[in-house]
């Protein structure tokens, strides 16, 4: 370990270290962030969900986008895997089908950052048990 020689060095060190802790910081305030859930059931993984997830995580980290990527189970859209569900705070969740690494980046740039709608949205036709009262 090298000694930290000044406050400036300490601040630089903090910046390089906070990267690894980002995911934990973000999880502290999940409701104020865009939540992206990648369906990671067997069908999703087989169609490349892991590549999609990696692409999403990298992009978010690079561009410092206030979003958090989590894994979910099978949503039932096995024909359209990999699928991702995007929930922007204050909006209804939107599910995108047939996502690959390129489309994943497109979704972030267009839908999350600019708020434009894209092709490939799967109309949600279900209610989850949590919503049903």
């Amino acid at each position: 370990m090298n000694k930290i020689k000044s406050l400036e060095d300490l601040r630089k060190m903090k910046q390089s270290l906070e990267h690894g802790m980002n995911i934990r910081e973000k999880s502290n305030e999940p409701d104020s962030l865009v939540q992206i859930r990648v369906a990671m059931a067997t069908c999703g993984i087989a169609s490349g969900a892991r590549t999609v997830m990696n692409a999403l995580v990298e992009k978010i980290e690079q561009e410092k986008i206030p979003a958090v990527v989590t894994q979910g189970g099978c949503m039932g859209y096995c024909y359209a895997e990999p699928t991702i569900e995007v929930k922007v705070p204050g909006k209804d969740p939107v599910v995108f089908g047939n996502v690959d690494a390129v489309r994943a980046i497109e979704i972030i740039e267009k839908y999350i950052v600019n708020g434009e709608l894209l092709d490939g949205i799967i109309p949600t036709n279900y209610q989850s048990i949590n919503e049903k009262q």
Binding site: R11, R24, N54, V68
Partner: protein, 597 residues
């Protein structure tokens, strides 16, 4: 550096380690490796999450899934289901005691919703043995800013404006304490961290040191700069081996980075710490006794003044603060005195950590803003009373505190309100009692502790507490008389007025407050000779219900003192004079023919 998509935080506090959390860490790591996910998921040992009742805890980030009572053999399922396939392991999720529903993540748990974590900000969040994680969360930024950009006076001013009061029990304003120590001139001064946590049922300081040792070290350095001390000493009880280990690791790492030692961050400020171990004497939590113990003398208090700020360790000006007080300090400098002063009540700023224990559903460690009510703490965060029983009282302030009852449930908790209600904040132990707890026995329990822990230097404490305990034993033993209650009250007042140190001055509090709030219960013990809670053994009356007794003689054989007599196949009787109330007959009887009153 790999970009992990998932962090698995495993509690490495003393409580969870006792239930194999180290094995859990090992198993999670090896399962992750087996599936080739080591670049995706990271396993981190953290400090206490506070939810000790349901430990060991495994928390999964970023979705905040909160797994409780995890066993080493559950790890394979967690990794293959959750980490690989994104499916939560439902059976390990926390179940809400009221709705019996599984709660998906910690943000929706009542236990966490009302909490505000300042002193515990890093507990259960970072790896306490990795200084980099502390630095990533602005660790050592406060000391860095202070020693490069501020004068000691300006820093003390911020402390005073924040309104922080000592969390060890007394509630003395911390900024003022630092100012007094800073004004006394000497060639050497000392910063002492009081980690001699001794209240029964309290484990706030231990958890902070185990979960976030760097915050305490950083705060001690800040204090050193403010008062002009270059040496810090942590007085910690030897019964806290894990806290000692993590403090040592933390100090070593800080030294390696040059954050302790000479010329910190290129300035002229030198500071380092060392550890002193206490043998676990309660009285050593009192600052003068603590200092004597550090000097190698008997842990006995002396009269103040002189205060340690004038003549403390080795006769030099010494500032003693408690662990939790220190843990608040870096946060105050990072976020500002105004921010800290905006939390809490008029005279008690910030938060307080409490150790919830006793007959409560969620036993554990919580941090709440001052001014929260007991009702919120006990029923919302604590999840209510165990087994649907009725709330009776809550004991705060440990052996120096008192009991609060139903009528205090809506009182906002702060230093002054608790004193007005006849108890005190103390270091933050909160023991909840239900209808089965006898308040005379509770007072007796605390007196037993005080008698054991009194250092014996002054007579009121040494002899007086012993007498108090004897009278309480007499009352619980069914031999008390009505005059005893008045006698208890008088003696208590004398002990309070004439004892040398805080231990004796507060030790009769449990007696006085139980007499005040539960006078009827005392009266029932001495006049009717019954214990309304049914807990005092000697006051139980065992009789045989003759209609139900078949004369099987099982109880006769069980009775160790031959107090039961009767013909075979005829109803038996218990001789109340011979009976020692052991309950053996009650346990043996197959016909529920034994009646206990």
């Amino acid at each position: 550096m790999a970009q992990y998509k998932m962090h698995l935080l495993v509690c490495g506090g003393t409580g969870c380690r006792a239930s194999q959390s180290e094995q859990i860490v090992e198993n999670l790591k090896s399962e992750i490796k087996n599936l080739g996910l080591e670049n995706d998921a990271q396993v981190v040992t953290t400090g206490c999450f506070g939810f000790c009742e349901k430990g060991p805890i495994v928390k999964i980030i970023p979705d905040n899934t909160f797994y409780t009572q995890v066993k080493p053999e559950d790890c394979a399922e967690i990794v293959t289901e959750h980490v690989l396939k994104g499916r939560k392991v439902n059976r390990l999720l926390y179940e809400d005691p009221e709705t019996l529903k599984h709660i998906e993540d910690s943000k929706h748990m009542g236990f966490y919703q009302k909490q505000l974590r300042i002193a515990l900000r890093n507990c259960g969040f970072i790896d306490p043995e990795n200084i980099d994680e502390y630095i990533a969360r602005d660790g050592y930024a406060a000391i860095g800013k202070i020693i490069t950009e501020m004068t000691p006076e300006a820093a003390i001013d911020i402390m005073k404006k924040s309104g922080l009061r000592g969390r060890g029990g007394g509630g003395f304003p911390t900024g003022l304490k630092w100012e007094i120590a800073s004004k006394n001139k000497a060639d050497q001064k000392y910063v002492v961290c009081n980690a001699d946590e001794g209240d029964p049922g309290a484990f706030m300081d231990r958890s902070i040191l185990e979960g976030d040792p760097h915050s305490v070290i950083e705060a001690m350095a800040i204090c050193g700069y403010c008062i002009g001390a270059t040496k810090g000493i942590v007085y910690i009880r030897a019964e806290y081996p894990l806290a000692i280990k993590r403090l040592k690791v933390a100090a070593r790492q800080a030294r390696a980075y040059g954050l302790l030692g000479e010329k910190i961050l290129g300035t002229d400020f030198d500071f380092d710490i060392e550890l002193r171990y206490g043998a676990g004497a309660f009285v050593c939590g009192e600052e003068t006794a603590l200092i004597h113990s550090m000097e190698g003398h008997r842990g006995e208090p002396t009269v103040k003044p002189p205060f340690p700020a004038e003549k403390g360790y080795l006769g030099k000006p010494t500032n003693v603060n408690n662990v939790e007080t220190f843990a608040n300090v870096p946060a105050i400098f990072l976020k500002g005195a105004e921010w800290f002063a905006s939390i809490g009540t008029e005279k008690s700023k910030g938060t307080k950590v409490f150790a919830l224990a006793g007959k409560i559903n969620n036993v554990g460690l919580i941090e709440v803003p001052m001014g929260i009510t007991l009702r919120e703490v006990i029923f919302e965060i604590g999840g209510g009373i165990k087994d649907g029983k009725k709330f009776k009282a809550v004991q705060t302030g440990g052996p120096s505190g008192g009991c609060l009852t139903e009528k205090h449930l809506d009182t906002p908790i702060d230093f002054d309100n608790l004193i007005a209600a006849g108890s005190m904040m103390g270091s933050g132990g909160m023991i909840v009692m239900d209808e089965d707890d006898c308040m005379v026995s509770v007072a007796k329990f605390y007196l037993e502790f005080t008698v054991e822990e009194s250092c014996g230097k002054c007579a009121p404490c040494r002899i007086g507490n012993k007498r108090l305990h004897e009278i309480l034993e007499k009352i619980c033993g069914g031999k008390g008389v009505e005059e005893d209650i008045e006698y208890l009250k008088n003696l208590s007042r004398v002990i309070k007025d004439t004892s040398l140190c805080g231990l004796g001055q507060t030790s009769p509090n449990p007696v006085l407050s139980t007499i005040e709030h539960f006078y009827d219960e005392y009266l029932a013990h001495v006049k009717e000779r019954i214990c309304p809670a049914g807990s005092c053994k000697a006051l139980k009356l065992y009789t045989i219900i003759s209609d139900k007794c078949t004369g099987c003689t099982a109880c006769v054989r069980a009775c160790p003192v031959d107090a039961i007599t009767g013909e075979k196949r005829q109803p038996h009787v218990i001789d109340a004079d011979k009976c020692i109330r052991c309950g053996a007959c009650y346990d043996k009887c197959k016909f529920t023919a034994i009646h206990v009153q």
